[in-house]
Amino acid sequence: MAAIKKIAELLSAHPLFEGFDSDTMEFLAGCAENKAYRKGEYIFKTGEPADKFYILRSGDVALEMQIPGRARLTVQSLHTDQLIGASWMLPPFTWRLDARAMTNIRVTRVDAACLRDKCDENHELGYTIMKRFLPIIAERLQATRMQLVDLYAPMSEVGTRL
């Protein structure tokens, strides 16, 4: 019980869950646990069921793609306080990327399958969760577009300058 309380406190201090009522926080904390990963360890891999999400409490994580015949490619890095994983929200509920600890990390891991069921039952909660997660997803999409533009490519390759 004390552990759940501690996790509830940790989670409610995060902007994602700011202002949630105590029942919801207790429910979320009941589906959550604190975990540590060592540098180099995978948190999840592409294709595995996406039934969790993680709040990175300390350390750095790389989101990577494995491309056959090429070195693994980091597409984005995540850092303290950031959310890891949104694929739990959308069918087919499988990870689209690998997440690997770049340093020793600590996370709060939330059982998203259980939250998903709760959201299906309680649409108000579901809508609130969507509203909190969607801006993060949109921001990451926008950042990905910016990376695609390859802003700093040399003139010889694309024709930009500074």
């Binding site: 802003l151 700093y152 040399p154 300058r161 500074l162």
Partner: protein
Amino acid sequence: MRAVSADEATSSWDLGMVPRPFRVRKNRRELNDVVTLELEPESGEPMAFEPGQFTMLYLHGIGEIPISISGDPSHEGVLVQTIRSVGAVSEGFCNLSEGDMVGVRGPFGRPWPVEKTDGKNLLIMAGGLGLAPVRPAVYWALQNMDRIKKLNILYGARTPDDALFPSQLLGWEAVDDVKVLLTVDRPVDDWYGRVGVVTDLIADLDIDPQETIAMVCGPDVMMNFTIQSLRAWGLDGENVYVSLERNMKCAIGWCGHCQMGPHIICHDGPVFSAPEVAELMSVWEL
């Protein structure tokens, strides 16, 4: 356009039309296609400048280009300019050797408003070669840490190997009240740093946006995106400055080559506050 009075228009020299001879003291390769030149006046006064100003660099028989000054404003004896080879003239400058002569006009342009940072945090956000035009403001800040609260430098590069001035970035980071964060778009295998766009780094700032002045330099798209992100973070647009480095010819506000809407960039800029250029920045090929 700028009106020049008869008194003011005494000679082409006074108007900054005639290049002064400078000699290359050093040509340091920064990246594959980028060099930093150290230039010394052949005679006469050293060139005093303010952070954010630029010169017109003339290469005999080839042409003249605007280049921002990237050196320390307190070191007047040497003019430092960082140049990427993109065409005939800039390539010519990149290939210069010690002892070669060039022509220099300037310095020109409205500088970064460093005096506005008194008692505030200075946030520098740069992308790619955009670190060069803001480096003089960094030098200024490092020499005036008693006047500002904190100096934060957020820098985005294409790859770790494309980061400009890497050893300086490390050195700055070691100074009290200075935070330097680097992110890259494309990491290499042994890169354990950040991957993502420069605006991702804003989340790591532990300063009050209301107490911050931001100076932003990089490709237009990066600056546009950064202005939006800084606003979302809580920074008032009036406190965000950008450097517009559109091409120009005369550099003294006469020819209109660099006119963008109501602004003659060489004369009214290149540094502008975000609201001054909000509409212009999103116009394609202006």
